[in-house]
Every structure is written in C-alpha cells, then in structure tokens.
Amino acid sequence: MRLAKLTLSGFKSFADTTEFTFDAPVIGIVGPNGCGKSNVVDAIKWVLGERSAKSLRGSAMIDVIFAGSATRKPLGCASVTLTFDNPVLDRSVEVAPSAPAMETIEDEQESDDGEAEGSAQVRRGLVVHRALPVDHDVVEVTRRLYSDGRSEYLINGKKVRLRDIRELFMDTGIGTDAYSIIEQGKVAALLEANPAERRAILEEAA
C-alpha cells in the first residue's frame, strides 16, 4: 500500500484545488513562513479521521474551511482526498467456511473434465490480500465539511461513516495519533511524554 496522491480544495489556505503526487521516496516541502506547508499535514490528519479541532490548530472544526483572504471570499466547503495504491499482496484459494457439505469433497474425486459429481455446492473463494480491506487497486478516501456543519466521508465514492475511515487504517501504522506523523514543534514530544503515553505509541506499533 502506498500513499500516491493528496488533493485539497477549500481546506485552510488551499482555496484552489491543489494536488501533491507522492511519487518519490523522499519528498521535501519547502517555502517561506506562513505559506501553507503545515496545513498539508493537517489535511492528511483530517482525512485520516482526526476529530479534535484543537489538534488541527483551530478552535472549531469549521476553521478548516478556507476563511477568505484580502482578495478572496470565504468558501462553503473544505474537501480533502487521499489516493492510495492498494495492490494485491497475494492471492490464495480459500474455501469459504460457510460451505455446509465440506466433508463430501474428500470422497468425490473430480472427474477429469473438472465436473464434481457431488451434490454439495462448493464455494471456493479466491480471497485476495491487500493492505487496505477494499478490493480495488486504487482506494480514494475523501472527507468533506460544509459551512452549514454537514460532513461527508467517502471511500471510492461511496458514502461511509467517520468510523469506517478510522477502521480502514487500523493496524496499518497510519493514523492521527500514530508514530507516522510528527507535527511541527512536537519532535521532542515522544521523549517528553509520560511513560503511559510512550506505551500507547508502542502499542500502536505492536
């Protein structure tokens, strides 16, 4: 699984639709103070299911919507999409446990032309393993917030709940409070945390 692309529109200072393609091993984001670099990190945290406005440096969640500038009017919606490559890791033939007449298979050898003589319906399932439990090569996760307070969460265009997004990333090491995102100014936080908080971070990796 690989984070391939980030698309922001109306999120914080990104009034216009902006894309970041992550197609290199180490990507640097540079630029003067106050231009929007850390807003990119906030966008990723937000779409991964962040629920606290404070941890996105705002006072209310509505603060993530572009609030206008000297030359632009405020917008009505903030939208962020993360696009993941989600290739097949391996395929394996698993016989779905729900096949009731499991034992009949042993007796009835398939005849050469491949037709089983038995009466039981055989449910052979081709189960594919992917890092994200969605059976597509590409997974798009979207979060939207409208200025009237309505939220939308989508996985590959299908509406889901925030909980579904958080569950999608369980056990992958990605998440809003995992060890994979170090926010600005918080680099020493892992060290200065109390012993119980350090334990929680390690449990995330277990």
Binding site: C35, V187, L202
Partner: protein, 172 residues
C-alpha cells in the same frame, strides 16, 4: 495481546539501544535503553507498565533525558521513531521541521538516515534546512503569490534561494 507487545517492545529496544541500533548510529556512539517502569512494589506488568527511556550521548552522563540539549532530544526522538519503523514500518511518514533545533552536522546525519528505510516506506519532509533538501528526491514549493492563498509549485534545489524564497521561475 501481551505476547505481541512483548515481542514489539524487545524488537524496538534492540533497534533503538542495541550496539548497532539507531541511537548509536545517529550519535556516532554513546548508549541508550528503554525499560518498563516498575510499580511501587517493584513489579513490572507487560500489559500496563509505562515505558522509560535512557539516553547517553558519547562521553556524557546525563541522569535523566530532560538534561539533554534541544538538538540531542530531537536526534534521540528520531532514533526512537526509526527504531519503531524498523519493527513495524508505516507505509509513509510525515516529518514537519524535525530538524529545526539541529546544527548542520546533525541535520546531515538525520537526513541521510532516512535512506535506510526506503524499501518499506516513503517520507514527506517539511524543512527550511538546505542540507535536508539535498537529501530529497523531489521538492514541492508552497508559496502565496496571492496573499493568504496557498499555491503548490514544483521546484529544483537550485531554485530555493539563500533567503528561503522560491525563485521567480519556479513560481509560475
């Protein structure tokens, strides 16, 4: 589950404080360790005890990690993070100005340490340090040609001026 936590803890401990661990690699020596904090009676509980960290830069004897300098704390944190990565790499990692407190020599050590993890993960690094930029395979500039509105441009290292501004031809 207790077994999984114990395995992860022991793996990270070696990756962090072992003789060939991340701490010694980033500091060029010294020693570090992590252990479970015993309760009042001295018992350790794999399912509940907190984690304490010890870190001694080469030639020094700090009693507690709070005595470390700003730069030493950043480097120790990066060592711990990469030690966790070794036992369970997340698909990607975002680092927002973790090099802010580092001098040039440590910035160089930090940025080059990332290259050992690219088989399993990729990194997104926000920085103002030229040394870190030199270790990036690709650079994105974020500027505000219109005040208050962010715009993304692709930049090459040479287009990042000494004053941190992005050169004109990159911004178009």
């Amino acid at each position: 589950s207790r077994v999984r936590f114990e395995e992860t803890f022991n793996a990270v401990r070696t990756n962090f404080g072992g003789t060939d661990g991340m701490f010694r690699r980033l500091f060029g020596g010294g020693s570090a360790d992590m252990f479970l904090v015993p309760d009042e009676e001295g018992n350790v509980d794999w399912l509940a005890s907190g984690i304490e960290i010890r870190a001694k830069p080469p030639g020094k004897e700090p009693r507690v990690i709070s005595q470390l300098s700003g730069g030493e704390k950043s480097m120790t944190t990066v060592a711990l993070l990469l030690a966790i990565f070794q036992s369970k790499p997340a698909p990607f990692c975002i680092l927002d100005e973790v090099d802010a407190a580092l001098d040039e020599a440590n910035t160089e050590r930090f940025a080059s340490s990332l290259h050992g993890f690219l088989d399993r993960s990729h990194f997104i690094v926000i920085t103002h340090h030229k040394r870190t930029m030199q270790h990036c395979h690709k650079l994105y500039g974020v500027t505000m040609p219109q005040r208050g509105v962010s715009r993304r441009v692709a930049v090459r290292f040479e287009q990042v001026g000494n004053d941190g501004r992005l050169s004109k031809d990159a911004v178009e």
